[in-house]
């Protein structure tokens, strides 16, 4: 490990050098001022974009002034252009009130949400590619940039991965603005702060950081920002890129940042003091810091009553353990510890395994790998075929494998229970970690039975305890133990008893609810409550 860290340090040094070079890199066009001749400006744009035909250039003549509109087709709302910009250029008898023509056009005539005067070419490219319309006017070495953003958006739909029964049915989309609006609509407080930046030297992807001032821990907010600023990469295709570039540790199968496509989940995390990172073009919003137990909390836990959601959550944790240990325990039981299985059951299993030519490990491996392939194929196949193929595949292969004597029926049961249990983890990133570790534990069980499994689990717990997410220990309220934060771990306390925000994640403002929130019937002799309230 020390060698590794040394290597990493070297890389970091290199990165610094790269950074320096990039700043000097003449890849980006030089920041030139806008020219007075609008024709020169237009030919420059044509040259820069290589005559791409989605760059629309429309020349205009207005009150003896000549000029041109430039916009990128598809990124703009063409109705806004025709209704507001072109309309204002059609009006020919204008009263400039003694104002300069350019100033007049900017302030009075072009009736758009926001107009900006820009002076240099970097701004021109920036605005143009974000969907603004640039207006060059003859004789002015500046241009008007009018906001005409309006591209095709996907409508807000039901979430496709994190479903809920009682919760809200909207989900994030690929558009940054829509996503921030979804959060704003849920937290109507000026303390919900939004900071934006652009990441990706080529792709220039918009990224927004949202947090609630006064609840979020300033240190963590700063850390998130610092880590985002450090990113120097050509493009960000999805929030998965950001996630991998800002996590504390890469050498782990466990996710150390949370991601969700549910606005209500992200809202509640913001209210716990976490920081949300929204990436344009991804319907998954990242929140940090993330704790281990968080991946077992589903949105529905908070929408149903506490006893039910506690039961469901414990079930989910049990399912995670089954998904992790299922085949490993089967292997250990059948190869090492037959005496621990009740006699009748041991005989039944032995009878079934009689004709199986493989040792338990190979048997389990065949079935597990088959299942994983089916699952992966089911994911990639065209939707119409996918489900049918996966069901038929599972049935046919399961049935046929048993009949052919490759595997025993018990193995099929074990594999299917494990697989189904694996789906009950609310967040895919955690479920897939269990899937991977399962194979390691199967190997250990083959070598040393339950002792191997125990050592594997011990190793895993050391690893989990050593992880940190933005400086917060990953196993937070369990190890290190914190009594105050046990309200939302294994037992989900009633909402009125969940008084405090998680420690360390939020700072300062820890209390969520007032005193005496416990509901109940009116007390006896309390009939004239209103008069009491007045006094």
């Amino acid at each position: 490990m020390p060698i590794l860290s040394k290597l990493l340090k070297k890389k970091q040094k290199q990165r610094k050098n790269d950074n320096y070079r990039q700043q000097q890199d003449p890849q980006k066009p030089e920041n030139l001022p806008i020219l007075r001749e609008y024709k020169d400006n237009i030919s420059r744009i044509k040259g820069e974009f290589g005559n791409s035909n989605d760059i629309v250039i429309r020349e205009i003549v207005h009150c003896k002034h000549r000029g041109a509109l430039v916009y990128v087709d598809g990124l703009v709302d063409s109705r806004a252009i025709s209704d507001f910009i072109l309309e204002s250029f059609n009006e020919n008898d204008i009263d400039t009130d003694g104002m300069d023509y350019f100033q007049f056009m900017t302030e009075k005539a072009v009736a758009l949400g926001s107009n900006e005067v820009i002076h240099d070419w970097n701004q021109v490219y920036d605005m143009l590619l974000s969907g603004n319309t640039i207006i060059f006017l003859e004789g002015y070495n500046k241009a008007i940039s009018g906001e005409t953003k309006g591209w095709e958006k996907r409508a807000i739909t039901e979430p496709s991965t994190q479903l809920s029964i009682r919760g809200p049915k909207d989900s994030f989309t690929e558009t940054l603005r829509t996503n921030t609006a979804l959060l704003r609509r849920r937290i109507k407080s000026p303390n919900l702060w939004l900071e934006s930046m652009r990441i990706g030297t080529v792709s220039q992807t918009d990224i927004a950081i949202m947090y609630i001032k006064g609840i979020a821990n300033e240190k963590i907010v700063k850390e998130v920002k610092d880590r985002l600023k450090r990113i120097n990469i050509d493009s960000i295709s999805s929030s998965g890129y950001i996630e991998q570039l800002i996590e504390d540790q890469s050498w782990t199968t466990f996710p150390t940042t949370y991601h969700s496509e549910r606005p209500d989940t992200v809202t509640s995390q913001l209210l716990e003091g976490r920081v949300a990172i929204i990436v344009d073009g991804t319907p998954f919003v990242i929140t940090a810091p993330a704790l281990f137990i968080q991946f077992f909390q589903a949105a529905d836990d908070y929408y149903s009553r506490f006893d039910i959601s506690t039961g469901i959550r414990l079930l989910r944790i049990l399912a995670f353990i089954i998904a992790l240990l299922g085949p490993a325990v089967y292997i250990a039981g059948t190869t090492f510890h037959q005496e621990m299985i009740p006699t009748t059951m041991a005989i039944a299993i032995a009878a079934q395994r009689e004709n199986v030519p493989f040792p338990a490990f190979v048997e389990a491996l065949i079935m597990e790998v088959t299942f994983e392939i089916l699952r992966e194929a089911g994911l990639r196949l065209p939707r119409a075929v996918g489900q049918a193929v996966s069901i038929v595949g599972a049935l046919v292969i399961g049935q046929a494998a048993v009949q052919a004597g490759f595997v025993s029926p018990v193995m099929v049961i074990v594999v299917s229970i494990t697989a189904i249990a694996n789906f009950s983890t609310p967040v895919f990133a955690m479920a897939i970690a269990a899937r991977l570790i399962r194979f390691v534990l199967m190997g250990l069980a083959t070598i040393l039975g339950f002792y191997g499994i125990m050592l594997g689990l011990m190793f895993m717990s050391i690893h989990l305890c050593s992880l940190r997410s933005f400086g917060i220990p990953y196993m937070m309220p369990i190890a290190p133990f914190n009594m105050r934060n046990q309200q939302d771990i294994f037992v989900r306390f009633p909402i009125w008893a969940m008084k405090y925000r998680p420690m360390f994640i939020s700072k300062g403002n820890m209390v969520r609810s007032g005193e005496n929130q416990k509901p109940g019937p009116p007390k006896q002799g309390d009939d004239n409550q209103s008069s009491k309230g007045e006094s």
Partner: protein
């Protein structure tokens, strides 16, 4: 030295897990027959007194581990030699626990697996823990504390529901007089496991609140002592004094007797689960003390690089220290307490305290005189 900071509750849990560690597995105080539990409690009293000595020493040098204040108290050379002696002692004790642990598995469940395979996998896991540092070990302790307690309660309920407990096995009290009880306490239970608290002299500076040292450590010792005494009593009540004395691992025999509804039987897995957890913490703490001591004595900046060489020493020594289990146990019962535990856990700390007392009195006097 690593700059770790742990909470008092974490220290408490580490003390409990360390003390219970292997003491619950082997028949502690078997020489006292059915009064084993009393020998354990007597040992606990002695252990608490001993800890007060360590605590006084810690009070004199609150920021230093044992290996450092040895040099302050007795001078550079003698202190260094004594420090080295303690490091070797810690390594040796880690080795012994690892051997105990491996023997247990090879004699009970993995009868055809070589000892070195069992031990090497265990030491690899521990090396990983040591590599991650003391704070991580403390956190893992918190994670497993609940599980151990859950298992213990489940075990006690199952044993009593199975109707295995015969209180009359615990009687007559003092059948052979009080002499064997006191003798066992002096010879065995004071030093093992309670005197082993000497290893915590390496860790006390890690505690973030120095005022809570007494509470955390002595509380932990008391809880662990009571647990061990209860276990001893249950073992005797289940097996009878005779079988208890003869059995290599009384707890395993006791658990093996559980039989409920023809379904819950052969719960050796529970036992093994505890075995791995308890063994892990006991070996880890000895191991870490050795690593921290070496780093401190020889001025290593990075203790992590020491975990591999010392780990391999422990691994190979665990296979070679005794040619068979009988020899190993004989050493453990007759040689270790007299020649290692008593001098290193009791006599040297007592001398240290006396010298430290004299030195610090002088120091206190000089400023007042001037």
């Amino acid at each position: 030295m690593e700059k770790a900071k742990i909470k008092a509750s974490q220290m408490f849990i580490l003390v409990v897990l360390f003390e219970m560690g292997s003491a619950i597995l082997v028949g502690l105080g078997v020489q006292a027959k059915q009064d084993a539990w009393m020998a354990v409690l007597l040992g606990l009293m002695g252990g608490l007194l001993l800890f007060l000595i360590y605590y006084r020493l810690f009070k004199y040098y609150p920021d230093l581990p044992l290996t450092s204040y040895l040099q302050k108290i007795t001078g550079k050379w003698i202190g260094g030699l004594l420090g080295l002696l303690y490091i070797i002692y810690f390594i040796y004790m880690a080795t012994r626990v690892l051997r105990d642990f491996g023997e247990l598995l090879t004699t009970t469940i993995y009868t055809s697996t070589p000892l070195i395979v069992i031990n090497s996998l265990m030491i690899l896991t521990i090396m990983y823990g040591i590599h991650k540092g003391f704070e991580v070990i403390a956190r893992v302790g918190e994670l497993y504390f609940g599980i151990v307690y859950f298992m213990a309660i489940a075990g006690i309920i199952l044993i009593s529901v199975s109707g295995l407990i015969h209180i009359e096995f615990l009687q007559p009290v003092f059948e052979y007089g009080w002499k064997p009880v006191v003798g066992t306490a002096l010879k065995q239970t004071i030093t093992f496991p309670f005197g082993e608290m000497v290893v915590f002299t390496m860790f006390l500076p890690f505690l973030n609140n120095h005022k809570k040292v007494k509470l955390a450590c002595m509380g932990g010792m008391i809880l662990a002592g009571i647990n061990i005494a209860i276990t001893a009593a249950i073992n005797v009540a289940t097996l009878g004094a005779e079988l208890f004395t003869r059995s290599n691992f009384p707890l395993l025999t006791t658990i093996g007797k559980i039989q409920l509804a023809n379904f819950i039987e052969r719960l050796d897995v529970l036992f093994m689960l505890y075995l791995v957890v308890g063994g892990f913490f006991k070996i880890s703490l000895y191991f870490y003390a050795a690593v921290a001591g070496t780093a401190d004595l020889f001025k290593f900046k990075n203790h992590q690089m020491l975990s591999f060489p010392i780990g391999f020493i422990i691994l190979f020594a665990s296979v070679t220290i005794a040619s068979n289990y009988a020899e190993h146990i004989k050493e453990g019962l007759d040689v270790i307490p007299v020649y290692l535990n008593w001098p290193l856990q009791i006599i040297i700390p007592c001398f240290l305290l006396v010298i430290a007392f004299l030195r610090n009195r002088k120091k206190k006097k000089t400023p007042s005189a001037s």
